[in-house]
Amino acid sequence: MLRIITLLTVLTLGASQACAAGLGGKFSPLEAMHQTPYGSLFFIEDTANDFDIRRGAIFVLIQGDGNLRLPTQSQGYCFAFNHYTITDRSKLSKTYRARIRKTLANGKIKSENFSAEFIPTPIITSPAVPNLCINGVSGVTLIQIEFNSEAGPAFSRTIAFSLVE
């Protein structure tokens, strides 16, 4: 009996760990971000719009899938993928998609689909990173994002984060 309880405890803890995403190291500038593995997902600190993503932006690595604790940013949140590669020289654009589910304070859920085309870059300083910026977060308590792309399974990620008013 004790053995079963111990096993269940371990499994429950393991599962909760697997469902929790976390923030990792910070990378700046773009060259440093491009040194991370292909398909790495980042949260861009203090940035709410894609035109604000500059060379000196601070990219915070998102490890794993699941719930995430992000600093409060009233204007919005931006995420980016590392698509730097020297092996894919096709110059063909890849479609990056995201399904965004916003849970409002009244409990309603608002879904949005996003897609954009980006060409994997062999240029380490390229600022054209696949990114997703979410605005209009006022009155939103939870945001869930499902990423996927034809660039490969590394880009299939699911994260969620709560917004504290």
Binding site: K91, L92, E150
Partner: protein, 443 residues
């Protein structure tokens, strides 16, 4: 009558003779000059080849002197491999050049496809929005994450049904047909480029690895000469092989033909050619001195004599017979100095008469009694010495196998004693040959 009829013929003959002689002189002089130039040219090849061969043979690998035939065998393999490398490098250059040109095509094809894809994406969203409420399942599929190929295929499959059912969809479906057609063309263009590029890249990889593999094979070929093929050894071997390897020019081919001859044969060829050159010099000198033109056959004979004399002098000198001042330079296994050998051969041809006399003298001395020691006379009357030791003439005569009178004459110094006789007399009198005999007869 006969005398008077012969008279008029004489002036005609005297007029015709100088013309014929001049023609003969001209042809013979031309022949001699052309021959000398030709012989000189061939001598240049032979001397240059001998020098090259000497230089190559002075190399040693792991303490073992190089062999010209072994090097030539390696050279043939090395040359074939180098040709393969040259061919593959040329092919690699062509492939890289083609790849560069293809790159431009690829960029254009990718741009076209990216643009068509963007258009298709927008159109599919438009169709998806139009289908909302009409065919929600298809609408969701078109806005979902399926790939464009699947979306286009499904929409095409439903095209006729949608057109029949909903006339309002005609505009957006027409747009889809147009854009999907453009996308298909762009995709085909890109796929063609991609296939070509992959084939070309595969070829480039294969050529590059082929070149690397051939370079490794060269090391294997070099290991026939030495097991330690380090960088300096490799450079030395390659230098030697480059000297052996003929280029496409006839000069290089001729030199190469000479260089790979067996070293002793090349030395003898050099000697004979230099002998002919010496004779040619002698003939030209006599022509310029105005000694007169001889017959064609005489010149050919002189050249032959020069060649044979040079060969004989070389053989005699190599045999160790002292016919030249510094015999050690040609003795036995002394390394061949091509310039010295050429000099000896040239003077042998140039002074062939003297050379023949020198060899004859050496031969006479050699064949006279099987030794080079000359006959000598007793320095003084040796009879008192004989008496002082209680020895007698008949016993000595018996040892010398000559008569008593002849033995008496040798002791008195009135008759020459051969080398053997000198030794027997010296032993009999217990003295040295040097003390008893002299090269000069007594007065």
């Amino acid at each position: 009558m006969s005398a008077s009829s012969a008279q008029p013929a004489s002036p005609q003959a005297s007029i015709a003779r100088p013309g014929t002689r001049l023609r003969k002189e001209f042809f013979v002089s031309t022949f001699v000059i052309v021959l000398t130039v030709l012989v000189g040219t061939v001598c240049i090849f032979a001397l240059a080849s001998t020098l090259t061969q000497s230089r190559i043979l002075s190399l040693s690998f792991d303490g073992v002197p190089a062999s010209i035939w072994k090097l030539d065998s390696v050279r043939q393999d090395w040359s074939a491999l180098r040709k393969q490398i040259a061919d593959q490098t040329e092919a690699l250059k062509a492939a890289n050049s083609a790849n560069l040109m293809l790159e431009d095509r690829g960029t254009k094809a990718a741009q076209g496809l990216n643009w068509a894809k963007e258009q298709l994406k927008d159109t599919l969203y438009e169709v998806s929005a139009s289908l909302s409420g009409i065919d929600n399942d298809l609408s969701d599929f078109l806005s979902g994450s399926a790939d464009y190929g699947a979306k286009v295929a499904r929409l095409k499959a439903s095209n006729a049904r949608l057109r029949n059912g909903q006339a309002s969809l005609a505009g957006v479906l027409d747009q889809f047909d147009k854009i999907s057609g453009a996308y298909a063309i762009a995709k085909t263009e890109y796929d063609e480029y991609d296939a070509e590029s992959k084939g070309l890249n595969q070829k480039i990889t294969s050529l590059a690895s082929g070149i690397k593999s051939i370079q490794d094979s060269i090391d294997v070929v070099f290991s026939k000469i030495t097991k330690n093929v380090d960088a300096p050894t490799r450079a030395r071997i390659e230098n030697a092989l480059y000297e052996l390897n003929p280029t496409s020019t006839w000069f290089s081919k001729a030199i190469s033909w000479f260089v790979i001859l067996q070293p002793d044969v090349l030395s003898l060829i050099l000697v004979v050619l230099m002998g002919v050159l010496g004779s040619s010099m002698q003939i030209l000198h006599s022509l310029f001195r105005g000694d007169g033109i001889q017959s064609f056959g005489d010149y050919v004979l002189r050249l032959s004599v020069g060649a044979i004399t040079a060969l004989v002098i070389f053989i005699v000198a190599k045999a160790g017979v002292p016919i030249i001042a510094d015999a050690s330079r040609l003795n036995g296994d002394a390394p061949i100095n091509p310039y010295f050998v050429s000099f000896v051969a040239i003077i042998s041809g140039l002074m062939s008469e003297q050379a023949i006399v020198t060899v004859q003298n050496q031969g006479q001395r050699f064949f006279a009694n099987g030794t080079s020691e000359p006959d000598r006379w007793a320095r003084q009357d040796l009879n008192p010495d004989l008496a002082a030791q209680n020895l007698d003439v008949p016993t000595l005569a018996r040892y010398l196998t000559i008569s008593n009178e002849a033995a008496e004459a040798i002791l008195k110094g009135s008759q020459r004693a051969t080398s053997e006789q000198q030794k027997i007399v010296a032993i009999y009198l217990r003295k040295s040959v040097r003390d008893l005999f002299s090269d000069l007869p007594q007065r």
